[in-house]
């Protein structure tokens, strides 16, 4: 499985969710985060999302732009406001709350 930069196309661009997953190499946490993210997106945002995976080991200079401290970090760039979720995303509930997909 090779995923330096993965893109998943959507069919309706207007309401596309822009999601960025920051990882540091292919660690178990990073791989788990990606798998969990895909699952959640397919279930709740089918056809409306766009995931970009950024490997900070390959591009360290990108860490400061989104103020990344923890790995893995999921950043919801769109829709605004920016939300950040840290962790391997194994806790689906918290991910949904963090993405504001679940009414709290």
């Amino acid at each position: 499985m090779q995923k330096p930069k993965a893109r998943t196309r959507s069919r309706t661009p207007e309401k596309t969710w822009e999601l960025r997953l920051y990882v540091a190499g292919q660690t178990p946490k990073s791989l788990a985060a990606f798998a969990n993210l895909k699952k959640i997106c397919e279930e709740h945002l089918a056809g409306q999302y766009h995931i970009e995976v950024i490997d900070l080991l390959k591009q360290p200079q990108l860490a400061s732009g989104d103020q990344i401290l923890a790995i893995p970090t999921l950043v919801r760039k769109l829709p605004q406001p920016i939300r950040k979720i840290i962790g391997d995303l194994s806790n689906t509930e918290r991910v949904l709350v963090g993405l504001n997909l679940r009414q709290e």
């Binding site: 946490k29 990344i68 995303l89 709350v97």
Partner: protein
């Protein structure tokens, strides 16, 4: 600062600087990097958790640190790490690799040897999982050591603990605490080395000042008393006074005290000396604590000592302040900085009496000890004037400091036959044979006149001197 720590901060290890808000931690950290970049060719990375690069640059610009220039030259890199609790949601396991990567990238990109982190405790408020945070902090300090960088990490003082979140358990090697106190409306900053494994260090508190060149720490007293003792002499500027001092005047680099009651002529003796020194091309710093420089110059002119040309040429520089304006430490550091900058051969403090109003006898004596030690190390001749009451032997303040003094000239008012005369005599003068006579002392338009007194205390003959 390096003196106190025995050579500076430990290389390749982290130092913790703890202090409450406003103590100067950020400044300390920044100065550490700036000095490294400018004087030791060691680039530095500043990880800021509270201010961004722009704000930091502005804050330290007034201290003469041109951060932007250093950043351009790739000698300094500032990374602002913003952590906002409300923005972050925790969902699963994570570590702080993002921070490590940013730090590593910054260090590698400029080849940094020094790192400052200000203040890492912000993370405690921002990240919900303290367990992960503490584990990662452990890892961070090991990582910094492995990277071979010398790090300064700042933290807030805790109530009763050294730091609010217990950072000191991670940074066992060197801990410095900063303190900022306001007593009697005078503020004093102090720093203390609390822990320093493997080396000797002073355990006292050291007053410091944040001035126009960054942090100045008062020099510590040389406990070993290792000053060189010069054997050259310099004229007092008054021939008769030279005669009273074994014909040759003061020792270069000695400390001289001129005491007397009000109006006896202390300033005139210092001025005669300063005048002679300036004529020899020496530089003098005159710290005036009671009279304004223009008043001193005018008064001295009336007795035939013209200081104006020396001031104009720059050989004589006056600095006038009221002692009550600042704390004792601030005065000391201000003088120390000026002396270091101007490198004079002669320093005058006129008078020192008012310092007793802002400190106890012990404190003033300690301060003067430091000053005299410093001046002796630099082989600068120092003159102090002091007011005494009529009965000098009872004057506690003078007795307290007289042991620091090499030469003590005393001016007295003497009455005889219904007349008042001024008398001058040498109370002590180490290392030379000195006169034990009381000479008559007069201030005339032609200058200072010192003569002999007859048994009745009346002046027989006076020979013009000084000018």
């Amino acid at each position: 600062m390096d003196e106190i720590t025995g050579g500076g901060l430990p290389t390749g290890r982290p130092t913790l600087v703890a202090g409450s808000a406003g103590c100067g931690k950020t400044l300390f950290a920044m100065e550490f990097l700036v000095n490294g970049a400018m004087h030791y060719d060691e680039p530095g990375v500043f990880i800021a958790f509270e201010e961004n690069a722009e704000e930091l640059a502005q804050n330290v610009a007034s201290l003469g640190f041109d951060v932007k220039e250093l950043m351009k030259q790739k000698k300094l890199s500032i990374d602002y790490v913003r952590v906002e609790r409300t923005e972050i949601e925790e969902a699963g396991e994570y570590d702080l690799d993002g921070l490590f990567i940013r730090l590593g990238h910054a260090i590698d990109s400029i080849g940094a040897k020094r790192v400052a982190m200000d203040t890492i405790e912000v993370l405690f408020g921002a990240l919900p999982n303290q367990g992960i945070l503490r584990a990662e902090l452990h890892r961070l300090f090991r990582w910094l050591k492995d990277k071979g960088v010398t790090a300064v990490v700042t933290a807030e003082r805790g109530e009763g603990t050294m730091t609010r979140f217990g950072l000191e358990e991670y940074v066992a090697d060197c801990v410095i605490t900063l303190d900022h106190r306001v007593t009697e409306q005078v503020s004093t900053r102090r720093l203390r080395i609390v822990k320093y494994r493997g080396t000797l260090h002073g355990t006292n508190e050291y007053p410091f000042l944040i001035g126009k060149n960054g942090i100045s720490v008062l020099p510590i007293t040389s406990l070993a008393l290792e000053h060189e003792a010069p054997s050259e002499r310099m004229s007092t500027g008054i021939k008769e006074l030279d005669d009273m001092l074994d014909g040759k005047g003061f020792y270069v680099g000695s400390s001289i005290l001129i005491s007397g009651t009000a109006g006896t002529g202390k300033t005139s003796i210092t001025s005669a000396f300063v005048d002679a020194a300036c004529r020899r091309g020496e530089r003098c710093l005159y710290f005036a604590f009671e009279e304004s420089p223009s008043q001193i110059v005018r008064n001295m002119y009336s007795i035939g000592i013209d200081l104006a040309p020396h001031v104009k040429k720059g050989n004589l520089q006056f600095y006038a302040t009221r002692p009550t304006l600042y704390g004792l430490e601030m005065h000391l550091v201000t003088m120390y900085d000026l002396i270091k900058e101007k490198k004079p051969q002669v320093v005058v403090l006129d008078p020192i009496t008012d310092f007793f109003a802002i400190g106890s006898i012990g404190e003033v004596k300690a301060a003067l000890t430091r000053m005299i030690d410093f001046l002796k190390t630099e082989q600068i001749t120092a003159l102090f004037t002091s007011y005494t009451s009529e009965d000098q032997s009872a004057d506690q303040t003078i007795v307290g400091v007289s042991s620091l003094i090499d030469t003590w000239l005393s001016l007295r008012n003497l009455e005889s036959n219904g007349e008042r005369h001024r008398g001058l005599f040498v109370l002590k003068s180490r290392g030379m044979a000195h006169s034990n006579e009381i000479r008559s002392f007069q201030l005339t338009a032609e200058g200072i006149k010192i003569g002999t007194m007859d048994f009745a205390g009346r002046s027989i003959r006076s020979v013009a001197g000084g000018g």
